[in-house]
């Protein structure tokens, strides 16, 4: 994958990519001879949301802040779970059936990699400065509501 922004830690890689995420070979990013489990998650654009049809999602990103938030999240996850981790998110247009986010984690045993991946996607949705503009089949567009980052 050709990432336009990337943050490499000791046990993780995170980054941003223009267009859909290509998931082929993602497991190789986290392979480790000491790890017997690899868990992967792909978030895929679906054709409906909140009762409306959807054709695509256009992702807006603040690259600097998003990469910082992804890096902090990866660091936390690698502290809480003994895993190797990769998280990639899209910027721009992603059509129905295409992946907008891919996450993979490896660990010695499955519980840690499964836990890390689940927590990764939960936290990404509420912490990383990324926004969705949903595009309908007739090109109607709407920004989706999300989680406020405001602390005061």
């Amino acid at each position: 994958m050709d990432l336009f922004a990337r943050n490499d830690g000791e046990h993780y890689v995170c980054g941003l990519i223009d267009g859909p995420c290509q998931i082929e070979g993602l497991d190789r990013w986290v392979q480790d001879p000491a790890h017997g489990a690899i868990a992967q998650f792909s978030g895929v654009v679906r054709n409906h949301n909140e009762g409306l049809s959807a054709a695509a999602v256009d992702y807006d990103v603040h690259p600097e802040l998003a990469l910082k938030a992804l890096g902090e999240l990866c660091q936390e996850l690698c502290t809480n779970y003994p895993v190797k981790l990769v998280m990639i998110h899209s910027r721009g247009l992603v059509r129905v059936g295409e992946a907008s986010v891919v996450i993979a984690a490896s660990s010695a045993h499955r519980k840690d990699s499964l836990g890390a991946v689940s927590e990764a996607i939960d936290q990404l949705k509420i912490r990383v400065p990324i926004w969705k503009k949903e595009i309908g089949p007739d090109d109607e567009q709407r920004w989706l509501d999300g989680h406020s980052l405001r602390k005061d």
């Binding site: 978030g43 992702y59 807006d60 603040h62 600097e64 802040l65 998003a66 910082k68 998110h89 907008s100 986010v101 996607i121 990404l124 949705k125 509420i126 912490r127 990383v128 400065p129 990324i130 926004w131 969705k132 503009k133 920004w143 989706l144 509501d145 999300g146 989680h147 406020s148 980052l149 405001r150 602390k151 005061d152």
Partner: protein, 83 residues
């Protein structure tokens, strides 16, 4: 008066990539108030509900309303919705 360029993201892209507001002081609270007035002036008072739940950032730092900005550019981040 100080001019602050506010970079628009997410739902605020409807206003363009950025807007410029003039403020008496460079506190985030003042910038927020100026943006709110600008939304009304532009006929987008509806975005004030989003603005209330939005946060400003300078560089890679999120700012609370009591903070002051050191430069002349900030980003306006509506509630996030990645994934």
């Amino acid at each position: 008066m100080t001019s602050i360029t506010v970079h628009c993201l997410g739902a605020f892209r409807a206003l363009g990539d950025s807007l410029v507001v003039d403020v008496d002081d460079v506190s985030v609270a003042s910038i927020r108030a100026a943006v709110s007035s600008s939304l009304v002036a532009r006929g987008r008072a509806d975005l004030n509900t989003v603005l209330t739940r939005s946060v400003f950032a300078e560089g890679d730092e999120l700012l609370k309303d009591h903070a002051t900005v050191s430069g002349s550019e900030v980003s306006l981040l509506p509630p996030v919705a990645g994934g």
